[in-house]
């Protein structure tokens, strides 16, 4: 079958037009976009600390351990996202304390808790009678099925994260830069570090529905990593990371809708592409 070229153009326009305005007509798409925006706030703020303190691996550990909370939620019959909050904070605290206090290397502690958390989740889901939920939605995200109740949880967690950053930014920045000196000038470094890990745990919960446990670490690192290429001021870095996160996650979401691809994976690949482009552009144009 042959169409006049003008017809094809029109189809494209219709699709694109539909993409901008039309997709927002669906309630689930509105929720998906809201979820992406809420996730970007957590990513930009907490992700900045993760990138500058170089604690990407421990953040990966916390996000995977959160799966235990998901499983526990199913087992107990409560909202898995809610159950993941105490569980991931607890695992973050255990990781923080063991790595500092017990004679175990941080690496090892993270590796163990990483898999133990996931194993606990699987066992709980095994033990849950009746309907076995689709694990993939938590492992790889399902931003298109975020209910409004989860949006509310994400919003509240974002508020907590923003408040903590506003109140303790000086302490966080100080321990990220020079932990020993922070201790010397009287900052309770261990408590502040554990608070930071708890914020990471909260961000993980915010992100579970958006990209899923396995892909979370991309959202926690890439926006901040791109932003870091353009500014050396922490405040600007955080704002830029939030804005970049918003553009890239909603952009990724839109692409996944256009091409009918898995949303979490598309968002992550779009983020990675942006990082690659940004890095190359800086190499080409910024002589340093």
């Amino acid at each position: 079958m042959e169409f006049p070229t003008g017809y094809l153009k029109n189809i494209k326009i219709v699709i694109l037009g539909d993409g901008v305005a039309g997709i927002l007509e669906y309630g689930f798409m509105q929720n998906a976009f809201l979820a992406a925006l809420l996730a970007s706030v957590a990513c930009g703020l907490v992700g900045t600390y993760i990138v500058i303190k170089r604690i990407v691996f421990i953040s990966g550990g916390i996000s995977h351990a959160a799966f235990g909370g998901i499983g526990m939620g199913y087992f107990l019959g409560v909202n898995p996202i809610l159950a993941a909050i105490p569980f991931s904070i607890l695992s973050a605290l255990i990781m923080g304390v063991t790595s500092k206090k017990v004679n175990v290397s941080e690496d090892t502690a993270i590796g163990i808790l990483w898999s133990v958390g996931m194993a606990i989740g699987i066992i709980f889901i095994n033990l849950t009678p009746g309907y076995v939920p689709d694990l993939l939605t938590y492992l790889f995200g399902s931003i298109l099925t975020v209910p409004s109740s989860d949006l509310l949880i994400m919003f509240i967690l974002d508020l907590i994260i923003i408040t903590a950053v506003l109140l303790f930014n000086r302490e966080f920045k100080s321990i990220c830069f020079d932990e020993e000196f922070s201790k010397v000038i009287g900052i309770p470094t261990e408590a502040i570090y554990l608070l930071l890990l708890s914020l990471i745990a909260l961000s993980v919960v915010v992100l579970i529905k958006v990209v899923g446990i396995i892909l979370i670490i991309a959202l926690l690192t890439i926006p901040a990593a791109i932003a870091k290429q353009y500014t050396h001021q922490l405040g600007k870095l955080m704002s830029l990371a939030v804005v970049l996160g918003m553009i890239l996650t909603t952009g990724g979401l839109w692409l996944s809708y256009l091409f009918n691809l898995a949303s979490g994976a598309t968002i992550v690949l779009f983020l990675a592409l942006a990082f690659l482009v940004s890095t190359l552009l800086r190499k080409l144009f910024v002589t340093n």
Partner: protein, 248 residues
């Protein structure tokens, strides 16, 4: 009775089954300028960390300005030997120094803090670079920034861990000149393994190799009193650099 700046009594420390410090006794007064010398691994940096309250000794008493070290942290300035920081960290010179004015949780920096930062940056001759990102500084400049960060606290005790190790010889002299001026305002403890350069500038020397072998004026150490004090130091006078020998 005036309170000693630092009072260390019978302090011993073991770590991982190894004896690091044994029965250390040392007291330091206001305006003392003392060099803590000894071989690598002799416990110099560890003793500084005990004075800072970062490490607790197994036995013995340590008091700084008559209190436990961590309670006197307001009065202590510290220049570490190595600051393990990410050179690409998003922070500039001014902010780095300002962090030394930390007052406590929920207490913001004041205009006085900012003025003080500018004064100190001027003192270490880094005022022009106040907006520069730290990744764009040389080793010697970074050293000055960290020195400023220690001084901005207006300490009455300044602890310097191998401050000469990372700066070039020309800058060492200006660094010593800076230290001479500081002595008027505070007590200074300078850790070094380079005895020769240090001895010209300091008032007294403490020699540490797990035990404290000698603490006293430089001249007496140079007069061959090492025999009496069992200092494992071969101090050769008339400007020839000293050499540290193994413990007898």
């Amino acid at each position: 009775m005036t309170v000693k700046t630092v009072e260390i009594k019978n302090v011993s420390l073991q770590m991982g089954g190894m004896s690091i410090l044994e029965d250390i006794n040392l007291s330091i007064n206001d305006h003392d300028f003392i060099a803590l010398i000894g071989p690598n691994g002799g416990g110099k940096s560890t003793l500084l960390k005990i004075i800072l309250g970062l490490i607790k000794p197994n036995t013995g008493i340590i008091q700084v300005f008559g209190r436990a070290p961590h309670k006197s942290s307001d009065l202590i300035g510290y220049l570490p030997q190595h600051v393990s920081f990410d050179p690409d960290f998003p922070i500039n010179v001014f902010e780095t120094v300002l962090s030394g004015r930390y007052h406590g949780i929920l207490k913001s920096y004041t205009d006085r803090d900012r003025d003080k930062v500018l004064n100190v940056l001027d003192e270490v001759e880094m005022l022009d670079m106040r907006d520069r990102q730290i990744s764009r500084l040389s080793g010697g400049q970074i050293q000055r920034v960290f020195m400023a960060r220690a001084l901005v606290r207006e300490p009455r005790l300044l602890l310097l861990d191998e401050p000469m190790a990372s700066i070039d010889p020309e800058m060492q002299n200006s660094f010593y000149t800076l230290l001479e001026g500081l002595k008027e305002r505070m007590a200074v403890i300078l850790v070094s393994h380079d005895v020769g350069a240090v001895s010209i500038h300091v008032d007294s020397i403490a020699c540490l190799n797990r035990r404290l072998y000698y603490h006293g004026p430089v001249e007496e150490a140079a007069d061959g009193l090492e025999e009496v004090y069992k200092c494992p130091l071969e101090l050769i006078s008339h400007g020839i650099p000293h050499r540290i020998l193994k413990k007898h």
